[in-house]
Symmetry: C2
Subunit: 187 residues, 2 copies
C-alpha cells in the first residue's frame, strides 16, 4: 500500500475544489466568488472545475447538497438551539453561512434553485413540528427568518454587536422570545 500521494488524483482535486468552493461561497456569497478564486484556493487549474462539475452553478448545487443540511443534524427539540449555537460559534470570517447565500435574490440557474427550495422547506418542516398551532408553518417561517437575519447582521462588515456578544446570552434571549411562537419548548 503506497501511502504516498499520487501525482495525479482526480478524487483529491475534486474534493479540494469542493472544499474551496464551500469556504468561499460561505465567506463571500455566490456572486462575489469567481471560479478563478475557487481554483486558486484549491491549488488547482480552473479548467478542472468545469471538467468535474460542469459549471459554477452546478458546483454551487454540489456544495449545497453536501453541506447545506449540516445545521439540521440536531434532534427536533434542540433544533433551534443547535442551529443558533453553530451559527454563533463559527468564526466571523465564515459568518455569512452557506444556507443564507441561498436566500440572496436573483442569479442562480435552475439546478441550484431546486436545491435552495428543498433546503428551506426542510428547515421549516423541522421547525413546524415544534408547535401545534394551526399556523405552525408561518410561525416556523418567522423563526427561520430570525435565524437568517441574525446571520446576516453578523456577516455585515460594520456591525459587530452580534459578533462580540456572548453566545449563551444570545441563545437565551432568542429562545426565550421564540418559545412564545413555538409553544412546545425544548424537552
Amino acid at each position: 500500500m503506497t501511502a504516498e500521494p499520487r501525482r495525479r488524483d482526480s478524487a483529491a482535486t475534486r474534493a479540494a475544489l469542493l472544499d474551496a468552493a464551500t469556504a468561499l461561497f460561505a465567506e463571500r456569497g455566490f456572486d462575489h466568488t469567481t471560479v478563478r478564486d475557487i481554483a486558486a484556493r484549491a491549488g488547482v487549474n480552473q479548467a478542472l472545475l468545469f471538467r468535474y462539475f460542469g459549471s459554477k452553478d452546478a458546483l454551487y448545487a454540489s456544495v449545497m447538497a453536501g453541506q447545506g443540511r449540516e445545521l439540521l443534524d440536531d434532534s427536533a427539540g434542540r433544533l433551534l438551539e443547535g442551529v443558533l449555537r453553530r451559527l454563533l460559534e463559527t468564526g466571523p470570517r465564515q459568518a455569512n453561512h452557506l444556507l443564507f447565500t441561498a436566500l440572496q435574490p436573483g442569479g442562480m440557474d435552475n439546478a441550484a434553485a431546486g436545491i435552495r427550495e428543498e433546503l428551506g422547506d426542510d428547515y421549516v418542516r423541522a421547525l413546524s413540528t415544534l408547535t401545534d398551532a394551526e399556523n405552525g408553518e408561518l410561525r416556523a417561517e418567522l423563526v427561520l427568518g430570525w435565524v437568517v437575519g441574525i446571520s446576516m447582521l453578523r456577516a455585515s462588515a460594520h456591525r459587530d454587536v452580534l459578533r462580540r456578544a456572548d453566545t449563551e446570552e444570545v441563545i437565551r434571549l432568542v429562545l426565550g422570545a421564540a418559545c412564545t411562537l413555538l409553544e412546545r419548548t425544548e424537552q
Copy 2:
C-alpha cells in the same frame, strides 16, 4: 407661462435616474443591477448617470442617503410595528427592501460603506430606547435582525408562506415575541 416640459432638464433626468436606481436596487440588489438597466428604466442615456453621480457606488450612496431612513419615520413606541407594516405591505416585487441590500456582503466601496454603517446604527439606536435592560443594544440588534430576516425570506423567490400570510397576523406574532426582548424586563 411655459408649463411645457423643457426638452433638456438636468434636474428631471437626475431625479429620473435616482428613482430608477431606487427601484432597481430594491428589486434586484446592488450586484444584479447594471448601470444600463438604470439608465434604460429612467429613459436616459447611461453616460448621464456618470455625469450626475460619478459612479455606480456613489449613486447607490445617494439612493441610501435619500430613501434608506424611510422606515424610521415612526414614533419610537410604534417603531417596530410601523417597520413591519410597511415591510409587509410593499408589493412582492420590491420586497427585497433597500435597507437590506446594504447588508449583503462584499462589494461596495467606501462612500457607500459609510452610509450603510450610519443606517444600521440609527435603527439600533431607535430600538434600544425601548428597553432599559443593560444589554439593550444587543436586544435591539436581535430585533433588527428579525426584521431583516423576515424581509429576506419574503424576497426569496421560492418561499411564499410569508408573502401569502396575513399582515396583521404576522405583526401580532412578531410583536408578541419581541416584547419579551424590548419590554422593561427583569434583571
